[in-house]
Every structure is written in structure tokens, then in C-alpha cells.
Symmetry: C2
């Protein structure tokens, strides 16, 4: 169909989430038609990223420095640690611009089905940080799924004697959400957690 270098690029692009064989071919042709403006810059950016990406030894996130930019930022509030499942969740919270403390990336959730136990997640290092650093509050920002909430309960247990306040994100109506389209669980949680006006 085309030179082996092109085929190899298509084969690897097709492994990206959201791209299949057809869209990988389309992406490859798009890249090839934009040789100088996209293909070369993207290849260089990926090479640079591959050379610099590392895991932060403090919070377990992915960044180009260790400690990561957030752990190294002296302007961040070092008394709060926000626990998230994945790096993507940390990025989502950063985009919201409403949190200015530190993070801790667990790397997943406990899952008996998938054989993920406490030792597979960065829980011990979290307990260590909560005990030794100037931390006063740990916010459990795990997904509102069964696995996420199970993990949150487990992490809260492990932190029980670390001398920190433990909190979790509020459950309720998403901003802009319509009652008619919400599931019963969310409505029940929003009703239970109702606030005075």
C-alpha cells in the first residue's frame, strides 16, 4: 500500500485510544500533507517528551521534572493533599483552577476482579506523606464509581491515625444539569446533602 515507514507509522497511530485503522490512515495522510507544520514538529515534540518524562517521586504524577512542577512550586498550599486515581484526574482539577494544594496520584483503584491490591497503588507513600509533611487535610477526589468509592474508604481507613482531616468531593447536581436527566443515585445524594439557602 505504501512504504514501510508509512505503514509502521499508521500501525502505531492505530493503537492510540480513539483512533482505529481507518482514522489512523487519515491521520497519517493529514500528517504527511503537513510535513513541515505538523509531522516534523509532532515527531520532535514526542521525542523530546519521551526523553524527559518521568514519575514524580513525591506525588507519583507524570511530568518532565522530579519533583514535578506542582510539588516543587513553593507557592502551592503544602497543608493539603488531593488524592486522585490518575494523572488525567489531576489535570482536570488543575484546569478547573479551583485547587491550589498538592496532589497524590494513586495510579488506579482497588479491584478484586483485576487483581489490584493496596500494594499496587501508591497508598503507603500517601500515608507516609500525611504523617511526615506539614499536611493537615487529605481530600479524596476519587471517581464516584464503585471501585473509586471502595478505594476511598480503604484509603480513609489507612489515614485514620495520621492526624489529618479527611474529606471527599461533594456529590450532587452537576452545574448545568437538569433533574429530569439525572440518575436516581445522584438525586438521592443531592437531596441528602441539601443545604440551607
Amino acid at each position: 500500500m505504501a512504504g514501510s515507514e508509512i505503514d509502521e507509522m499508521i500501525r502505531l497511530l492505530a493503537r492510540l485510544p480513539g483512533l482505529g485503522p481507518r482514522s489512523a490512515r487519515r491521520a497519517a495522510l493529514y500528517l504527511m500533507r503537513r510535513h513541515d507544520t505538523l509531522l516534523v514538529p509532532l515527531a520532535e515534540a514526542m521525542t523530546r517528551a519521551a526523553a524527559t518524562i518521568t514519575t514524580c517521586s513525591l506525588c507519583n504524577t507524570l511530568d518532565t521534572t522530579d519533583p514535578c512542577a506542582i510539588c516543587a512550586d513553593t507557592r502551592r498550599d503544602r497543608s493539603t493533599i488531593c488524592v486522585v486515581e490518575q494523572v488525567a484526574d489531576q489535570w482536570a482539577l488543575e484546569r478547573s483552577g479551583s485547587y491550589h494544594g498538592l496532589y497524590h496520584v494513586l495510579g488506579g483503584t482497588l479491584s478484586a476482579l483485576d487483581g489490584v491490591g493496596p500494594d499496587d497503588l501508591a497508598i503507603a507513600s500517601l500515608v507516609h506523606r500525611a504523617r511526615t509533611e506539614d499536611v493537615t487535610e487529605v481530600i479524596l477526589a476519587l471517581n464516584a464509581t464503585v471501585d473509586g468509592q471502595t478505594t476511598a474508604h480503604y484509603v480513609a481507613d489507612r489515614l485514620a491515625h495520621a492526624g489529618v482531616t479527611i474529606s471527599r468531593l461533594a456529590h450532587g447536581l452537576p452545574v448545568g444539569g437538569e433533574l429530569d436527566y439525572l440518575d436516581d443515585g445522584t438525586l438521592a445524594a443531592a437531596l441528602r446533602a441539601r443545604r440551607g439557602v
Copy 2:
């Protein structure tokens, strides 16, 4: 949010067709978690492709050699040229495995709205090939769109005195297609071009 190398990779990934900002972030994290098995190989494949990709001086396709692998292949039937709009169309025909001649990539269709005239497409070089090579038939495999068919008519006019048979792809039911779901134009074309059983 993350190191500038990661941000730059996400920004460029988001420009690929089929990926937006959110899916580009997801793809970047997916790549970063598969550093050795996907990120590095893909970066290397793209660098190699960028260094070798060229336009075939005969048929105008994209490949890693000039002339391209098909133009250079002595086993191909050199008496037939299949005219396509884009490289992707050539790849689709090659995947079908039902054509063994040469190709000619126009690079688009005539379009008054987009300001694409005959000089913007590889039409003159096609006429030249049809006159000088051992070509006996030119197959117009352009899209069954208004622009595609307009271009096919124009190309057929230009080839009128080149001494070659000019043909086009058949219109009709797609294999596996159901009558109930087909548009009127396709049904009318299939009925007009009906064949004895």
C-alpha cells in the same frame, strides 16, 4: 498542568483529524504510560517517515521512494492508469486487491467555490502520461460527488484526443446494501445500468 514538552505534544496531537483537546490529552497519557512500547517507537517511526516521504514524480502519490513502489513495480499492468482524487483513494483501491495497473493522483477536484482550477490539479501530467506511455485505458475512479463527477467530465474532455479508452467506475448498489436504505439517485443509477442475468 504539566511540563512544556507534554503540553506541546498534546497541542500538536489535538490537531490530528478525529482528535480534539480532550482525546489528545487521553492519547498523550496513553503514550506516556507506554513509554517504551508506543511513545518511543511512534516518535521514531514519525521521524523516519518525515525524513523519507516524497511525492512520486510520475503519479503524484506520497511514498518513501520516487518513483513510488507501484510506478517502479515492473509486474504492474502499465497499459492502465486509474485516476483518483487523493492518496487515500489509491490506498482504498490497493486494499481491495482488484486492480493491478498504475495510478494517477489528481490531488483534489475542480471547485469554483474553493478556487481550485485545472492548473491546481495534476491534469496536464496525466494527459502527458496518457499520450507518451504505453497506456491504452484511463479509468476515472473519482468520488461520486458533484465535484468528483465535474472533474471526471473535465478530465475526460482533456483526454479525448490522447488515443486511450476512457472509463469510469460503475454506479449501483454497494455490496451488502439494502434497497430500503439507499438514496433515490443510487437506485435510479442501478436501475438504468441493470444487467442481464
